[in-house]
Symmetry: C2
Amino acid sequence: MDKDNLMQFVRRILPMSRDKAAQLVEKFQPMKIGKNEYLLKEGKVCSETHFIESGTLRAYTYDFDGNEVTTAFYLKHTFAADLLSFFKSNPAKEYIQAVTDCETWYLTYEDMQANFHTIPEFREYGRLNIVEQYSQLKERMLSMLQETAEQRYSRLISSSPEIFQEVPLKYIASYLGIADTSLSRIRKEFAKK
Amino acid sequence: MDKDNLMQFVRRILPMSRDKAAQLVEKFQPMKIGKNEYLLKEGKVCSETHFIESGTLRAYTYDFDGNEVTTAFYLKHTFAADLLSFFKSNPAKEYIQAVTDCETWYLTYEDMQANFHTIPEFREYGRLNIVEQYSQLKERMLSMLQETAEQRYSRLISSSPEIFQEVPLKYIASYLGIADTSLSRIRKEFAKK
DNA sequence: GCTTCTACTTCGCAAATGTCAAGAAATCAG
DNA sequence: CTGATTTCTTGACATTTGCGAAGTAGAAGC
């Protein structure tokens, strides 16, 4: 397992030379996480950020009635971490669990800080990365505000069809903010078209 | 009009000496915006960030059916800007409009970049600020996912009662993701308790 | 003061979604 | 392979929310 995918990912966000990128990803270390195991539990501080080489994870928390609410899916070749816990060293408010067996490259908060100080590009990368995450969250927020459940489903399946191969529908339902029975009905309607 | 409130705000996010703070806010300039005027229009790049000395603004966009969707309220002594447009110099996807007459201190993107380079604290402040905004957006997202309209209303009125003094209820309805008639019903039910 | 406009409420009905229970289908463990 | 568990679907019914229309109250303009 080499760091090619990681380097490609980093350079797509912030173009830079191969050498710079290599320097930037040097501190990342490999990890394996078995299916249903946790990368992070509520109350713990998220002290690493993981680039997913293979596998899928999801983040979730509970609502007032004790139902699981899926807040994010992390597919291969993206980063998985609780951004808030990681950057502010706060206890996490959610769980991050492996939906399938996973292999990741992870970077500790300390190593990231070291990179921030020694590599100006990394500082810029870090900032862009947060803005990017903010952007995605905002789109999802807007989608919740202005679209019906069916429209949200339609958007998700066309923008991220991979998710549907990787995770159970009930997680997707709670991610879309609807009951799993409602999702089932929406899929039925949707299939007719 | 002096910069005391601005300095206080900045130092609350990132503690620093009075001198540092003074240096940091030096480039901010005053502006007045009349009721119903626009601080930003869709399609324009948001090239300044505004600290609101007095007054209230809101951000909004339109959904597929042409209805206004309020995405944010900006109360006095906070920052108003389209974060995504500002940091990425992209065309804004929304409008920012003054709900009442406003006075602001604004900083241009160029001046912010200059501050980033010359004042390390400001870099750190910028990053923390984005993380903070992300945090707030995430809470709202969760609130949409796990709470009923009435719970969201209840939460808003207890966390930000000021908003209800400043902006029409119909804006609040679209901010909560419901029709104004539904908000009216919810308020009626809510008043009984 | 009068008119006009906007914000807000209320009503009746329709559409969307939730809840609960049952059963089918798929997956997992031994 | 087989039984147990989990996931998914379906149906009946309740609840929430949206929509259009009508009416009221208050603010703004003249």
